[in-house]
Symmetry: C2
Subunit: 237 residues, 2 copies
């Protein structure tokens, strides 16, 4: 009964015990010059909640975080980055240690082609900014062999399920967590809802605090990744 | 002696008593779409420190703040905005009440010409972003007649004094506070140094906590604006 309670709670004997989880969180910033930058809306809360929940469930957690105001969850190894390129380098530098990769960061997918070393002086006229794609960390991780279990996120303003499934297939992910974003929804909020999709299935997680949502999502990931099987076989009938 | 002590401390009988000060603080965000935006590095700390110091010195303080994680100083009237255009509208809407305008915000001076209503899908190729100047709140306030005492800020990565004096003259400001910014300097830091310039003079304020710097700057502003004269005339010789 004690073992069953431990298993139900996750904990040191659960499916995450002894696993290494690599999680990205927060936005990235892509500088035009030392003062101006392009970025994405993201508080980092979902990624930090996942890091805390994975650690509580017994995993070793490496958190690669863009700029946020959030405190590091206890026991989590944190690497701070600013740009998409730095996030790419930090993740690829330790991906071989990971059993699971969860890309919760809202990475800037474009950056200025040129970064001015000094502050650009305002001219008063219109100007055009040339942008180029940033390195795609999620795609690079999914393209590795062997690879960890790969979880992506999709933040969409419309056609959420359709775009999420397209991203799942296009980037060859194992699982994707999708949510609708917009004014007052998804960003800088404590609550969120998620639609979780994989190749041949999906499940909707109702709106709830991101801390609770993180625990539910980790349960699904553990099941889909087969992490739970070893411990489950010890369950009494 | 008691009156002199009160005057020395600023306080309810000092030069700021009964004055209305309008202060802008923080960055602004200029959206490309519901997810991506262009912004400036700014924690808002200098503007919030000025608001707190002006209130402590007996002024009525209206703080027009871009997105920051900072708490409103006690007794300060706060108006939250996100974009440069909203900051312009908020300031011009109450500028007639102000004896002094302090533009401490790091306003985005460019914004995307078009804002997409839905998240732009990543194409994978380079793209160009057309930018246009945002409304210039500081210039608009300085162009009014009558106008409050107008204080600007200049955050520069090089040639700090030269660029600051150019901005002072070009925008017809009464006073400008300039600082050098760059990695680890001026942004997201508790300490800062300022060079304060006006038409026929300047003074350097040594590096110190932004709260102390705010009090020093307000003393200089009160002197340059002539706010101190009425009370000073009551000083015993």
């Amino acid at each position: 009964a004690i073992a069953a309670a431990l298993l139900d709670a996750g904990g040191a004997a659960g499916p995450w015990a002894g696993r290494t989880v690599l999680i990205t969180a927060g936005p990235t910033r892509e500088p035009l010059d030392p003062v101006r930058y392009l970025t994405n809306r993201s508080s980092g809360r979902m990624g930090f909640a996942l890091a805390a929940a994975a650690r509580e469930a017994g995993a070793r957690v490496i958190l690669v975080a863009g700029p946020t105001a959030l405190a590091t969850p206890p026991g989590v190894e944190r690497v701070d980055v600013e740009r998409a390129g730095q996030m790419y380098d930090a993740v690829l530098g330790c991906i071989d240690e990971a059993d699971c990769f969860i890309a919760a960061a809202a990475v800037s997918d474009y950056r200025p082609e040129r970064e001015a070393p000094e502050k650009i002086k305002k001219g008063g006229d219109a100007l055009t900014l040339a942008l180029e794609p940033t390195p795609d960390t999620l795609r690079a991780v999914a393209a590795r062999s062997p690879r960890p279990f790969v979880v992506g996120f999709a933040a969409e303003t419309e056609r959420v399920s359709e775009y999420a499934r397209r991203k799942l297939n296009d980037k060859d992910l194992d699982l994707i967590a999708a949510n609708r974003v917009g004014p007052g929804q998804g960003f800088d909020t404590d609550d969120n809802a998620l639609e979780v999709l994989w190749r041949d299935g999906s499940v909707a997680l109702a709106e709830q605090p991101k801390t609770a949502l993180a625990r539910e999502l980790l349960q699904i990931v553990a099941e889909r990744a087969g992490f739970a099987e070893a411990t489950r076989s010890h369950h009494a009938p």
